[in-house]
Symmetry: D3
Subunit: 158 residues, 6 copies
């Protein structure tokens, strides 16, 4: 049984994230989507809100669960018997930083990292860009699920 | 008639910016230099000050105007009947981020982005670097017009 | 009047090339697609065959013509009063090489180069890859026009 | 049951290859190391010789088999019920080319590609470099298994 | 007599830094490790603390001294008769930024920059990553000297 | 006494090469320009012709000598008591390949590699590009010394 984790902030989930989670779910037996709790940086959405949107988004994937975690990702992996971290790769600037993280994690514990190329159609997509476009009144309906569009509108109107 | 926009912060304008604006002015019929108003981030110079320095710098280019804008760049383009965004490309790290923005803009509206390579002699130039050097007492007279040098000295002495 | 050139080998034309030519045709008044005659390297198709396929592909673009050229691209530009070279950018490895060519051309003559980002959906596409896949029996019907598929089958069966 | 393939030329196998194959064997249930038969390019070693060295190198990995293949990799995957291609990533220049191949393969068939970062200590290693060093009399004993060192000496002395 | 400088924040020193300083000490007659005093950004350790740890780390290198500096690096070089800046290169994203700094410095004064590739085993190492791992309770004993581990524990417990 | 080597094909020498050799001559006590004899690949110029042009080009640099070498560069370094290899870095694609070579050389022997950034004005320059432009009748007088221009004309007319 091979368990994988898809870690991230998911503030909020985009179709780019779902593309990667869907691929991970086809490649490994069990996939945990883990929302990083970062105490020093508050997001647009709370962690429970992010988990809520994610759970709705992966509802049709039987072998995927959504949880939050704090602390070192490699410690989380050891506790949950997870052998592999799955990350999406969009561009070269991702690559350098992700490789650095992968090698650090591999030096800290026997946890592998695999990179999955994002579908070309989502290669430009990032949560930060979605929030910026939404904030400036742009239409993000092609980039995130409809219930995320609604929550973005609601939150940005507060 | 092909209209182009050169968007940016221009805080302050450098010879690198002017290199790109000059090329755009030779390639397109009308060029709008658009200074982004970013409410969440104050610059060293106010937007009117930046527009003032830019206007002086492009005074000899007949088909170039300088304006400010807020909101989404693609909305600005649609309102002003602009079909193309012109960006300078200095280095690979520019490329990744700029490509992401270009693809996002192209997904939001029918606006093209073209990249113009910066002259090798300005390939290292950035407003942030100019400000840092000026702040530490370095001579930036080869990097920005003389009236920008004066304004930098004045502002940093305040 | 702004004239542009899209140079290349086009051996054979792909949907990636057509994406770039179509964008150039919207950005400039007149576009010349120029097939490089390379005497030291024979292609899968002859230059007239490539021009034939290209001409069919751009038939609906009023301001585009297809020609061959030999010699230096900057000399071709000067002879035809062309002020700008348009190149597609797919990936970082393109970027380095294309930037080198752009700077060389700019040092040889007053000819600008602009880079147009390829649509994400064609970002992996290259004539050499199309030929390799076709040679190994793969279906390239989503990557090139149908008459190019037919010519590929015919040529590879010879 | 998740089956993976590690494709390549393996001319000859290096510790860098074995690093990737070992990781794949921990991540997937069954791993096929597939030596590409390239009729238009002869290697230093024949395909049977390469398979022979590889088989010796992976003898202690229970879920790994070594075979040759010709034709399209995605066709090989479909015939052998393999859902994922595993590639090592050493550097940025690898990344661009590999991403292009991954997206082409994904457009041709429902086959995923995952990238596994090479251990830093092998990040500079390539079969071509090993052959060049061996040819010039350098010691490659730290880069390939001892029986590969012997075969290299033998072959280069012929 | 060739003098070199290794500039940086060193907050705190890692084995990656020491790898570069050691190489510089073999290549040049005299090496100055210069800790940048950045008034607008406070570190985890004070500048005297960083100098203290660095001095301990380079105690066995006869031709290396550790100092602090403020202002422009090129001014520091001129004052101390230093002709070359030595920087480590880990990855491509380093490269772009470092090249920009090198060209800016070379435009400001006749000071050369040379880049030394970091040992593969430290290619993922950065002070910021070490601090983050230590903060989350990870073991950084393989990444920094033991007295740095102690100081990190002490400081993060405050 | 620190000795350095600038290895390469130099077929023929360009102002880009001379930029790097000149910097090396300021940074190290003694610099050897080493022309690689590659038996499997003939150049446009013979090795003695390349050495002849190089010698003329570095005649005014007292601490620079020009020689040819065959075999492994690290063996050449050990024989000549050279501790450091100096390479120019123009672009990211250089970086990856050069880093690979540097790490291979460092694994084979205790020889360091340092990278020197090429002046922006020569960042697009390569011998292969110079030869291609000259072959097509372009003017390369700004890119190589005048006696190299003459030799290129002569050789290409043969």
């Amino acid at each position: 049984m091979h368990r994988a984790v898809c870690p991230g902030s998911f503030d909020p989930v985009t179709y780019g994230h779902l593309d990667i989670v869907g691929r991970a779910a086809r490649l490994f037996d069990q996939v945990t989507v883990a929302v990083l709790v970062n105490e020093s940086k508050s997001g647009l959405f709370t962690v429970p809100e992010r988990i809520d949107m994610l759970s709705q988004a992966v509802a049709d994937l039987d072998n995927v669960e959504v949880v939050s975690f704090r602390g070192l990702l490699v410690d989380f992996c050891k506790e949950h018997d997870i052998a592999v971290i799955v990350k999406g790769l969009r561009a070269v600037s991702d690559f350098d930083h992700e490789l650095q993280m992968a090698q650090m994690n591999s030096s800290l514990a026997a946890v592998e990292t695999v990179f999955v190329p994002t579908s070309p159609q989502w290669s430009f997509l990032a949560s930060s860009l979605v929030k910026e476009v939404a904030r400036l009144g742009g239409d993000v309906g092609d980039l995130v699920p409809s219930y995320v569009v609604d929550r973005l509108k609601q939150r940005l109107a507060e």
